[in-house]
């Protein structure tokens, strides 16, 4: 119960701060294009990611939404043939600038993947790994503190507090995904990218993660790729619709799902293609 009050206190403070920061642009994509070898996967995408809001990227398979998401923390760097054009900024800094330290960038822009992928280590170590390599904790007590608060923020502390030394892979799928979220939070990122975080989870685990996303929004900026239209409608404030590598439409989620402007958006969300 203590956790709840602590969390709601945080949320209340967050709400006050958010009133002004709602329209702050945390990340901005400016004419972003992506090539895989000769093939162009993304064309001229201009998209703003607003601070303390959840931005959902939707669209049929192969539309470029995951490609765009992966540009935001330079995950595409890991693919040899991938080439990114245009400009992406984080707090006005060009993240593709030569002087940017990619490891540090990925600490600021964390990521949660489709399939929960905990390290084959203890629950504690899963969360402590990031802070350790980034040198965020000097003493063991500091690290304990980071691990506990990250697991609390990921709403999994109560379920694992008595088994921190057990392997993370021994948890259920939904718990593993929340552990991965705790791991992402542990390095105090500013933006969290989620690539279909619930597609491997059952409805109850999905509901827990969605609830968590809503809480995390108070302190982080979230970009989520999802194939579930209902999920996008439930968790996000802004929605961006991609199709064939182009950004078709971006706008307030409430409007996108009741009265979208673009016919392709309408057709996709109503199940007329895709």
């Amino acid at each position: 119960m203590n956790i709840m009050t602590e969390q709601s206190l945080e949320n209340a403070v967050g709400d006050k701060m958010n009133a002004k920061s709602n329209e702050v642009i945390k990340m901005r994509g400016d004419k972003v294009g992506v090539f895989y070898g000769e093939k162009q996967a993304l064309f001229d995408v201009n998209l703003d990611v607003r601070q303390n809001q959840v931005t959902a990227l939707i669209g049929p398979s192969g539309c470029g939404k995951s490609t765009f998401l992966r540009c935001l923390n330079r995950m595409n760097d890991t693919i040899d043939s991938a080439r990114v054009t245009g400009k992406i900024t984080l707090d006005e800094d060009d993240i593709y600038d030569k002087n940017i330290d990619v490891v540090e960038l990925r600490a600021r822009v964390g990521m949660v993947f489709q399939k929960p992928n905990p390290f084959p280590k203890s629950i504690y170590e899963n969360v402590a790994y990031g802070p350790r390599i980034h040198g965020l904790a000097k003493r063991k007590s500091d690290m304990d503190q980071i691990v506990e608060s990250s697991l609390k923020k990921a709403a999994i502390w109560n379920e694992v507090k008595d088994r921190l030394q057990e392997p993370g892979t021994g948890l259920s799928g939904g718990q593993q995904q929340r552990l991965c979220i705790a791991r992402a939070i542990a390095v105090s990122p500013e933006v969290i990218l989620m690539d279909e975080p619930c597609s491997a989870l059952d409805p109850i685990a999905t509901a827990r993660v969605e609830e968590l996303i809503d809480e995390l929004r108070q302190n982080y900026t979230i970009v989520i790729v999802t194939h579930s239209m209902q999920q996008a409608a439930r968790v996000s404030q802004r929605t961006a619709m991609f199709h064939l590598g182009y950004l078709v439409e971006e706008g307030a989620t409430d409007k996108m799902f009741t009265n979208p402007d673009d016919k392709r958006t309408q057709d996709y969300i109503t199940g007329r293609f895709g």
Binding site: Q230, N259, Q266, G271, R272, F273
Partner: protein, 234 residues
Amino acid sequence: MGEHTVASFDEELGQISKLIRDMGDLAGSMVSGSTKALLNSDNALAQRVVSDDAIMDARQRELDDRAITLIAKRQPMANDLRAVVGSIRMAGDLERIGDLAKNIAKRVGTVGLSVTPRDLSHSIDAMAQLVLIQVQGVVEEYAAADAAALAKLRNEDERIDVKYTSVFRELLTYMMEDPRNITACTHLLFCAKNLERIGDHVTNIAENAYYVLTGQQLPANRPKQDETAMATSA
């Protein structure tokens, strides 16, 4: 609008819009039947309108069932969502129109016993014609997906309100002329009021239909003219 990837989704939406059309047609025939019965003192016709109301209620329940099942199964979005929710609301208004027509039909026996002044049945007839045009029009325009026509139709309700005011005044005059008219005229006044309310339900339907088609709400204020309040005080 293209077809859904899942064909049965289209079928289910089609069944719902067919029910709206059926209910609309039935509402039209009930309104015309009840006023005809009233003006010609036709008890058999009045009886038919009363029994039609049971069909109307059954259609509404079927539409509710289908709409709720569709929402549960398909989680409709955007225009589909508006169509399903809008249908539920429009069916509610159509069902009320049925109730009001039934209420007119039920008065036929009572009014018929007394002598109704000729002029009066003429002006109620004129009012009923206006209402009937509105009821039939709203269903047709929705089926034709003509949003502009719906916005226009909604404003046409003003003519019914004006007509109602004049019927009200006429009835008042007849009652003052000869107190023996009071019973019949009071019933006729209720009938006129029912017709006026049917007009209001039509404007609700037009507003819902407009929202379903465009995703935009019509402005809240609509020209209104019910001067009966003033007439009473005068």
